[in-house]
């Protein structure tokens, strides 16, 4: 664990009765990282987050947020933290402004500072016109937006988000993805639990994967792709596939194997390089007519599935 770590989770173990929900989970998140926390349903993502917040007591291990244990000193540990839960249920008797104001009071913000911050946040999350409306009248997506505004009320150093874009429309999803990236560029640490692999791949710098309560990977996004990549593949669609063409492709130094499926070729590469130029040249030499040529690098989804398989 680095001394730069803003979130440190060490050997966290949590039981629900006889069920081991977390099994010696360890991770460290440093300042400015956007950390994606991945795992299938029931893997232990939310349990990890709720333990990090001091809502659950670990049976073993320890959590530190900015160097402070939230179970022992929640006031200090959570002062600089923002949290947006998964599918939040907010207090429907408040208006958006009133709830933000109440949360601002808990953080000890002065009246004027709260007023300005609330205005700024409602604008940021696209609820400017809805601030004075009761939360009971909000849609799910609007509640999700307000929940993110609530997490930002104290201008936190650490932001923990559990499935933050669930229930949002594509425009809002893109907006908030940009927001998280911007926040990390401002030096804030963002911890996102998500099952949207595309989302994680787009905005996260680092990723942790959990399965059945155990960490199966923890590292940089590029590292996870590298670790779980076996090969890159080029898929080519031709008007006609000939035996000589397949045989000449197989003879290329960069090609591991070629598989034929009708007029489609699946060319498995020895190196993780974009070799479409070389492949297309060879096809043209053999008088082939290319209809399409695509390079398939490994996606986070592939890596994720391999990681889960490996962790079982």
């Amino acid at each position: 664990m680095s001394s730069q770590s803003v979130i440190t989770v060490s050997n966290l173990t949590k039981f629900y009765g006889d069920f081991k929900a977390l099994d010696s989970v360890s991770l460290a998140v440093e300042k400015g990282w956007v950390y994606g926390y991945l795992g299938p349903n029931g893997a232990g993502k939310t349990t990890t987050i709720r333990t990090m917040l001091g809502l659950l007591k670990p049976d073993q291990g320890e959590v530190q947020i900015t160097g402070i244990n939230p179970t022992k000193d929640p006031v200090q540990a959570l002062q600089s933290l923002g949290y947006a839960p998964e599918l939040p249920t907010l207090q429907t008797f408040f208006t958006g402004e009133q709830l933000l104001d109440f949360m601002g009071k808990i953080f000890g913000l002065a009246t004027q500072a709260r007023k300005e911050r609330i205005k700024q946040l409602l604008d940021l999350v696209g609820l400017k016109e809805w601030g004075d409306k009761r939360i009971g009248n909000y849609s799910k997506g609007m509640v999700q937006r307000l929940s993110i505004a609530l997490a930002l009320i104290n201008d936190p150093v650490v932001l923990i988000m559990d499935e933050p874009t669930i229930g949002m429309d594509p425009e809002a999803t893109a907006h908030f993805r940009n927001l998280f990236t911007t926040l990390s560029k401002q030096g804030k640490t963002v911890f996102i639990s998500s099952h949207l692999l595309d989302e994680v791949q787009r905005i996260c710098t680092h990723v942790g994967m959990i399965n059945k309560g155990r960490m199966v990977f923890d590292g940089r996004i590029a590292q996870v792709l590298e670790t779980f990549t076996q090969q890159w593949v080029i898929e080519a669609e031709l008007e006609e596939v000939t035996k000589t063409m397949v045989s000449s492709l197989k003879k290329l130094d960069c090609v591991e194997d070629v598989k034929v499926d009708g007029n489609k070729l699946r060319i498995e590469l020895k190196e993780k390089k974009d070799l479409r130029g070389e492949i297309s040249s060879e096809i043209f030499k053999r008088k082939g007519v290319l209809l399409s040529l695509n390079l398939h690098k490994i996606t986070l989804e592939d890596a994720y599935l391999r990681a889960l398989k490996g962790g079982q």
Partner: protein, 289 residues
């Protein structure tokens, strides 16, 4: 921001939460309506005593007239105030667990104890407000309809006694709310204990009147409703020299006053301690409803 300020923020939150409940208003309005109804009945009896009314009752009515404010103030105490405090506190903790809002509140820089203290004091301040409302209304009605009223200097005493005695069921409902973490179950459990106490004490009192055996009355004093229901009456009995009649209970001895006061304190402390232990030792549970 210090701990007291954080507790004060939660007290304010608890008021907002309770005031959003229409049924709480309905219950308070019902209690007030009962007060007004009693006035109407007494006013009718004073102005148009029914023919053939026994002289003892007529005399009792006349003796009661200058103390009508006590009758009025204490009338909602035994039943309605207990129900109101159960409704205030019975969902205080459990609703937050059921709705998942406890996650949002307790992931903020506040300790569990500050959160619970704010919640409890929020309920207590609501109880104090409702008690003040019914007390002031009772006195105003008594002054308007049955002036002059005597011993009004003891009004603060009776008000404080009402608030204090209601701590029993406020704390009981609060404890159930935390321990069970189910609002409906918490309401039913607290109301169940309240009704059971009323029924058992009624049965014990009836057996006592048949047998003359004091033991039955002594046993009934251990029930939670005894101190809660009687403490304000005992305080008034001690302070105000009201002649015994069918409309006002006779003054009690010092021992019963002390015993009622002690039982209120003991029950309250036990219920709060149980709730505190449960909150501090257990996880913040997620949505259960």
């Amino acid at each position: 921001m210090n701990a007291l300020q954080r507790v004060a923020v939660i007290v304010g939150y608890e008021w907002r939460r309770a005031l959003a409940k229409k049924w709480l208003f309905a219950l308070v309005i019902l209690a007030v309506a009962i007060q007004v109804l009693i006035f109407v009945v007494f006013n009718f009896l004073f102005t148009n005593p029914p023919p053939g009314m026994p002289p003892a009752l007529l005399e009792g009515l006349e003796q009661t007239k200058p103390f009508m404010w006590i009758v009025e103030v204490l009338t909602p105490q035994g039943f309605f105030m207990s129900l109101i405090v159960i409704m205030i506190a019975g969902g205080s903790m459990s609703e937050e667990y059921e709705h998942g809002t406890s996650d949002i509140l307790l992931s903020k820089p506040i300790t569990k104890l500050e959160y619970m203290t704010g919640k409890y004091l929020g309920g207590l301040s609501l109880l104090s407000f409702v008690a003040a409302l019914t007390t002031i209304l009772g006195v105003i009605l008594a002054i308007i309809f049955f002036s002059p009223q005597e011993s009004l200097q003891f009004l603060p005493h009776v008000y404080l006694a009402i608030v204090y005695s209601n701590l029993v069921f406020l704390s009981l409902a609060f404890m159930f709310s935390e321990v069970l973490r189910r609002t409906t179950l918490s309401y039913f459990s607290a109301i169940g204990v309240f009704i059971a106490s009323l029924v058992i004490s009624g049965v014990l009192s009836a057996v006592n009147s048949f047998t003359g055996e004091q033991l039955y009355l002594d046993v009934s004093k251990w029930l939670p409703n005894w101190g809660a229901s009687n403490f304000p009456s005992f305080v008034m009995g001690k302070l105000v020299d009201v002649p015994s009649n069918p409309f006002i209970s006779p003054a009690q001895g010092d021992s019963d006053l002390l015993l009622a006061g002690v039982f209120v304190a003991v029950y309250t402390v036990i219920f709060i301690v149980v709730a505190t232990i449960k909150l501090v030792r257990s996880d913040v549970t997620k949505k259960t409803a």
